[in-house]
């Protein structure tokens, strides 16, 4: 049977050619979000650089750069001659937020403030982002 499944947005990436965010960052952010939300699990293979480039409509080097970025973050494993795979999650769960993520979060709050957002709006947006990634897990725990 074909691999086609009924359409859904679960395992999808958004690309925006009109955005100021570089395409490789958009792709890396998209793949990272899929892993963080559990749509891609440890050991899952990612599409090849060529295939993902064709799927998204971007240059192969752009996808390769996104995969390298994810590999630097130890989110993805790159091995010569085999497809990119989702790396194992960190051994220590419940530990502190790493320095890079903290820096990004602070940067994000600063940008939001400069864009004119109120503290309440920023908190709401933060809560929504948290529930987007932790919402399912919490519901699982509640059951």
């Amino acid at each position: 049977m074909s691999a086609y499944r009924e359409p859904g947005t679960a395992r999808s990436i958004v690309v925006d050619f009109d955005s100021a965010v570089p395409l490789y960052r958009q792709i890396a952010d998209g793949v990272r979000a899929l892993i963080a939300r559990g749509h891609l699990a440890e050991g899952d293979t990612l599409p090849s650089v060529r295939k993902l480039g064709e799927m998204l409509g971007v240059n192969l080097n752009t996808v390769a750069k996104a995969y390298r970025l994810l590999a630097d973050e130890e989110v993805v494993e790159l091995r010569r001659g085999s497809p990119a795979r989702v790396a194992p999650p960190p051994r220590e769960v419940g530990g502190p937020i790493d320095e890079r993520s903290t820096r990004r979060l602070v940067d994000w709050v600063g940008r939001a403030k400069l864009s004119g957002a109120s503290e309440r709006v920023v908190r709401e947006a933060f809560e929504e982002a948290v529930s987007r990634f932790y919402g399912n897990e919490e519901r699982e725990v509640e059951r």
């Binding site: 359409p7 859904g8 947005t9 958004v14």
Partner: protein, 362 residues
Amino acid sequence: MSWIMVSLVLALSIATVGILVEWIARHEHPRRLFFLSLGRERTAADDARARRLRIANGAITLTGVAIAFAPVSEWIRVAAVTLAPLASITWMSVEMVGAVRSAKLERVPGRYVVSLDDPPTVRDLVSAPLQVLNVALLVVPCAVFAWMLSWLGGRLPMHYDAMGNVDRYGSPTELWFMAALLAFDLVILWGITWALTRERWAMPEKQTERYAELQLARRRTMTRMIEWIMAIVNATIAFVWLGIPLLSLPAFADWVGPLSIVVVIASALGPLAPLAHFIPKLTELKDEMRKIAGTEVLGTRDAGWKWSGMVYYAPEDPAIFIPKRVGIGQTLNFARPAAWIVLGVAILVPIAISIGVIVMVG
């Protein structure tokens, strides 16, 4: 074959294209002209364009039909059969380009969703019964013809002049080129279906699932249309292929005229039936897709669309097969060398087959 039969065959050939052009020109829609989306309300100028095409097409077709029945040399009549449809289609193409150039094209969204799951494959698009029918239309005539070769004589009428008289005889084995034609059509059918699966599976962020359903329905409808067209074309070719040896038998000598008319009607009107059935469905699907996303999400770059959206040229885009922005069907990303190879094959193979047939017929 009698003179009146020949005239009828010629007139039917001309009238068929005339009817097709008339049907396209008559298409009534507040935001479309000749089935092409205008991206704005249809105006009096658009109506005038449609009227102009209908008048020109009517005049060309009637002149062609009149010449088909006129007591003139057969060369003039054959020229009328060739030139009248060509003139109508050329006129229509010019009016279509004019309509597209006056259309208000929305900006193609540069933001879209792509699923990491595999998009629909060829198996998701094809209809099993129609595929079986199309393969059978190659295999069965080949088997029947192989059997016929065992009892056919060594000499058959291979070509008739415009008056229906035999002007060339040849060996029955020459007719195997008909099998090549059938196989070529099958390859075209599978090639188009495969190319549809190569289009980008891109969706808008809102109503993604509904849009994906519409996108899948669009690809399936396109495939169904091509499957039906090829089945009808190949049934006609098979009919001619197996009919030529049968008509050479004395018992069927009087059937040449009536059967020629049947073949002309089938070959000319037959492929129009799927077009008439499926094109309105395809335009409806595209209308709903536009309603959801504001404009169609083509998974392409806006800057790539040149010449009022008629040509796609985007060196940064790896895709070769692109859904048409204007009209129905596919276009190519002409920035990719592979696209030029596809175009070359699509043009050269039919020319090579035509030249081969002409050389063989002598």
